[in-house]
Symmetry: C2
Subunit: 362 residues, 2 copies
């Protein structure tokens, strides 16, 4: 279980596969985000048709509502949301720091106010693992602290906590059918990133993630940090760049050895009437699309582009019809998943360099 | 084209088929409503999976937004909404009277204020037909006036206008690939209903509809009016009971010779967190469903019931996730379509009486 095999490499890029209890994940891959046990506006059947393999869900949200004991009682997250393919849950760390009001951070954990009802809740490494074991995802994440990327003192303290918490997560973990990934932190500071990558690698976990990027630092800093970290993380384990990204970020991440990506971007843009394309975006509310008979992307094979015009989608948006978000989500998620699949194929065929050149500028 | 064949009868009920340019409609059938060129929260692919054959769209709404010339320019309504099976458009009459502020009704037509932006618009029989020809549905409806069911004087004036307008619609019609159905009005008054049924029958149209029911009169009055009208309408043409209904209404309508039903009920209930079942409804927001692992209906074969628990759907509702409306719409529309298909099958097998007895009380 959780064996990671690399089928081909080209430069820093790798085409691999990770065995999980719910199927094999072919990498590089893009995972859509199902925050509250649903990828917004899409059924699992639509996700399958789109070609999704891995879906991410948020521990923080499910811990608060409906609560992980209920999901466990109902047979776990796969059954609850009817997604029989692999699932990854994050640790709740990032959301605690970004969504809730923190009451107290100490060495043991975090006490915070729920963003839903203000009730006081607590997450520790042990609680995060217990929640993630109740949810039952294939890949679970160590509880970490994500610091502002440019604050050196904060990042120094944060990696110390993140490292201690990763060790405690490993001790707390009881299920053998879940892979625990450790998270490297350290902001934009090379020495902290290196120190963190070395420590997390030393835990001999089945996979590694890079956290705390795409949170305010420059693209240059982001890609530099990935290079620093990936020069240390072992090559024979999957590497997951959390919360990224755009088509450009994915190409550049793959070139630096990243295998797994996730981002709310495609579904969030969809709910804001925007179609994602590989090199630009279309805001379909614009009047210029009022009588445009073309699909969003004439090269795209998704259900939306095979059936609907820009004019129709604009009509749905103006008419406040829910179908607009569904059709845009189908297209946007399809675009990132198939782009990443195309990248994988190019690595297998040793032609990734041409995609990299095509996406060498933002 | 538009040939209607009756394969079997049992009492007043009939199992038939109507040939249209976009396929054969097997009757009795239930048509979901796609008011603004979309059945709310469902893709055409989901509608096909549900088993929908005929979809209704509203001329009034599409006339106002995005406008029928645009839809014609984009290839017509089938292509616009990517529904390659039969479509029926109503005439706009009912919505003008129920949704907009009427400025003036005269013998020629109706001037009204748009419910969207208050702009002044006009519909006449000729305009309604022109709009419906631009939309291009397989079945189009004569422009009619729907009066309050208990107001005799109003209904007397309304049927006179409705009859004159039906004749003008027939004259205005130019496309041979659309079937124009006439609409019988007359409120709850037997003599007016009879007079209207005789007049509309005399136009020798390919199908007939009964309008102005399920708008405030008692169930007893509704079914009595259907009996009065259907004793006059020719048996060899399809009969469409507009805006109805519930499982009970469908069974009772079929028993009285109705072939086609449409109603916003299943999709409207879905958006109000309610699951429709043949003999009751479940409001899934109720706390009693919080940990209920059962599907909405243990006998139901729809995608929703085959994959999701009541607890999951309740979670989606509380989490304000769009998927709740989609999953409930799938179930609710499936329930009415498959129930009507089951009724059709029972007529073919001469066992409809047992369904009728099962649904003899509300």
């Amino acid at each position: 279980m959780f064996e990671f095999n690399i089928q081909a490499t080209e430069g820093g890029s790798r085409a691999g596969s990770l065995i999980t209890p719910h199927g094999i994940l072919n990498t590089p891959l893009f995972a859509p985000v199902g925050t509250q046990a649903t990828v917004k506006a899409l059924t699992p059947s639509q996700l399958t048709e789109i070609g999704a393999s891995l879906v991410l869900a948020n521990t923080y949200h499910l811990f608060l509502k409906p609560g992980d004991p209920l999901i466990a009682q109902l047979g776990g997250l796969h059954r609850f949301m009817a997604w029989e393919n692999p699932i990854l849950t994050d640790s709740g760390g990032f959301q605690v720091f970004s969504l809730s009001k923190i009451n107290q951070i100490d060495e043991d954990g975090v006490t915070f106010k729920s963003h839903i009802d203000g009730s006081v809740k607590r997450l520790t490494p042990e609680i995060s693992i217990a929640v993630q074991e109740n949810l039952g995802a294939d890949i679970i994440m160590a509880f970490d602290e994500c610091a502002p990327p440019h604050d050196r003192d904060y990042n120094l303290r944060a990696i110390q906590r993140t490292h201690a918490w990763a060790e405690r997560c490993l001790v707390a973990k009881t299920r053998s059918d879940q892979a625990l990934f450790g998270i490297v932190q350290g902001g934009i500071f090379d020495d902290l990133r290196s120190q963190s990558a070395r420590f997390i690698s030393s835990l001999n976990l089945p996979g590694h993630a890079i956290g705390g990027l795409s949170v305010g630092e420059s693209k240059e800093d982001m890609f530099h940090s990935i290079e620093v970290v990936n020069s240390i993380l072992p090559e024979n384990k999957p590497r997951y760049l959390m919360g990224v990204g755009t088509p450009y970020d994915i190409v550049q991440g793959v070139a630096r050895g990243i295998d797994i990506f996730d981002c709310v971007l495609p579904t969030r843009l969809a709910r804001h009437t925007t179609a994602l394309r590989l090199k630009d975006r279309l805001n379909l509310v614009n009047a210029s699309f009022a009588d445009d008979p073309r699909p969003i992307d004439e090269e795209c094979d998704c259900y939306t582009c095979q059936h609907f015009s820009r004019a129709y989608i604009r009509h749905l948006i103006l008419a406040k019809e829910m179908l607009a978000a569904t059709l845009l989500s189908i297209h946007n998620v399809y675009t990132l998943i198939h782009f990443t699949q195309r990248i994988r194929q190019s690595i297998l065929e040793h032609t990734f360099q041409s995609i990299l050149e095509e996406f060498s500028t933002l």
